[in-house]
């Protein structure tokens, strides 16, 4: 932590604190974070009302189709996207690849996604995220995974879903699993909470915090397979605090229109009348895939 600013010439400012890291996630609540692969797409996303963009070289649907090792994006691409928009820019690193994360911190991306969508770099360890002043978001399929990532320093959790499929079923499964276990922990007695910590393989102090507050210590967003305005409102009503839409926008027939519709639907997720209105005539959604037919399940990466 470095001193960077002086308030009224007296007190010093602290950067990279937990409050500052989690605070940015809190500002993104109720919003849509969109995957973009060019500066032009980033502009379209911002024009449509995205709260943030995720800069990457290939959207998950293409990573899935083309195969090969998926890595951090070229810094030149990330820089071009940062230049193109005024909203926060996120970028992905491979699980455990702290050297890629060091590069993204130098580039001053606003959030680093330690992501299962890229090919993992370490089979045993995730990144020690406390070592960075840029905040991290990590994926989780269940509460134990979420709390382990938070204990490593993640400032935002996104339920993983199954990226690049256009199929929301896994996102729903993961969200329900996380939120369902939170509800159960709230009614557990002290002895049972130790059992939960053991079962979840998560630190007891985080289990206690969840029991006390009824929520994760950091914002919980939803990702992986969302393709329509209704998908966004489904997961928001289940308890997600914001949504990531990856391939679902730029693999659809009319990305600008669909992006805008998903933004409005997410903001008005409790208002089916508005969601119905914005869902009209959007053109074809991305085709999507059955989970059972997949060769690779990205959500199984990470532990």
């Amino acid at each position: 932590m470095t001193s960077t600013s002086e308030a009224n010439g007296a007190a010093s400012g602290e950067r990279g604190t937990v409050r500052v890291k989690r605070g940015l996630a809190e500002m993104l609540r109720g919003g849509v974070i969109m995957d973009v692969v060019t500066a032009e797409q980033a502009k379209i996303a911002e024009d449509a009302g995205a709260v943030s963009v995720m800069a990457l070289e290939r959207v998950p649907a293409d990573i899935r189709r083309e195969g090969g090792v998926a890595r951090m994006s070229d810094p030149a691409l990330i820089g071009a996207i940062q230049e193109a928009v005024t909203i926060p820019v996120m970028a992905k690193v491979r699980i455990g690849h702290f050297a890629e994360a060091q590069i993204l911190q130098v580039l001053e991306v606003d959030y680093i996604d330690e992501s299962e969508v890229l090919t993992p770099a370490d089979e045993a360890y995730h990144i020690d995220k406390w070592a960075f002043s840029v905040p991290f978001v990590c994926g989780a399929t269940n509460l134990g995974e979420a709390l382990r990532r938070i204990s490593e320093g993640a400032a935002m959790i996104r339920s993983k879903g199954e990226a690049g499929t256009g199929n929301v079923v896994e996102a729903v499964r993961h969200l329900r699993s996380i939120l369902g276990d939170i509800k159960k922990i709230q009614t557990a007695d002290s002895a049972e909470r130790y059992g939960w910590a053991k079962q979840l393989q998560a630190p007891i102090d985080l289990v206690e915090e969840v029991a006390r507050t009824g929520r994760l210590p950091v914002p919980l967003f939803c990702a992986g397979g969302l393709a329509t305005p209704a998908d966004a409102t489904l997961v928001m009503q289940l308890g997600a605090e914001a949504v990531f839409v990856g391939s679902g926008i730029f693999k659809s027939e009319d990305p600008a229109r669909r992006a805008r519709a998903i933004v409005e639907a997410t903001a008005h997720y409790q208002d089916a009348e508005i969601v119905a209105k914005v869902s009209r005539g959007l053109g074809a959604a991305m085709p999507g895939e059955e989970i059972a037919t997949l060769d690779v399940k990205l959500a199984e990466r990470g532990w």
């Binding site: 960077t4 409050r19 208002d271």
Partner: protein, 205 residues
């Protein structure tokens, strides 16, 4: 004034829950504002932190921009934090060309004025009229470049170089902060809002 004033929180995007919790703890009745009809009968309003470009767009598409602007012009007491401050400003620098703002307070505000997220910071600052200093959380925060006549500057922040920049300002019933009092558990700016709500109700009675 009624025992529990009805205060709206613009709930299109951003940290609505934190503001609602502070207002609730101070005894206000909180209403989430997403449609024009939600403005009916409000005695005060909070514009939360969030992304100002997104909020500007959603204010337009929801039909709220015009009616909300009329409420502000009629003197509805309002508190805006971060993106909320940007939305209330007369002019926004480093925004999008089509970004809308209400012009409810005569200030020129620069978006993301401190830089990207790595430059976000926490600090303690003196606020005119408050006995104790305030702990302030600045997240990709704006600051005020210039203020018009009749705007009180209640707090400033000075970067290592350069002149002090206003970060809390007030004009009439409009109070703005570049930081997030709702994130640091300090309810004194919300109390100032509720004071104005009370005064306005008393003068109307």
């Amino acid at each position: 004034m009624t025992a529990s004033p009805l205060v709206g929180v613009l709930a299109l995007q951003g940290d609505v829950a934190e503001h609602s919790a502070v207002l609730d703890s101070l005894g206000a009745t909180v209403r989430a504002v997403r449609r024009p009809e939600h403005l009916e009968g409000l005695q005060g309003l909070v514009l939360p932190g969030g992304e100002s470009t997104t909020l500007s767009l959603l204010l337009g598409s929801s039909g709220l921009f015009g009616p909300l602007g009329e409420c502000l012009a009629a003197g509805l007491p309002v508190l805006g934090t971060c993106a909320g401050m940007i939305l209330l400003s007369r002019q926004v620098l480093d925004g999008r060309a089509d970004q809308k703002s209400f012009g409810a307070i005569d200030i020129v505000t620069r978006r993301n004025a401190f830089g990207r997220q790595v430059e976000s910071f926490e600090s303690t600052l003196e606020v005119a009229g408050l006995a104790e200093p305030m702990h302030a959380v600045f997240i990709r925060a704006p600051f005020v470049e210039s203020v018009g006549e009749g705007v009180e500057v209640l707090a400033t922040v000075r970067r290592s170089e350069g002149s002090p920049r206003p970060v809390v300002c007030r004009q009439g019933n409009v109070l703005v902060a570049a930081f997030h009092p709702e994130l640091s558990g300090d309810d004194r700016l919300h109390r100032l809002l509720l004071d104005r709500v009370g005064e306005r109700a008393a003068s109307a009675a």
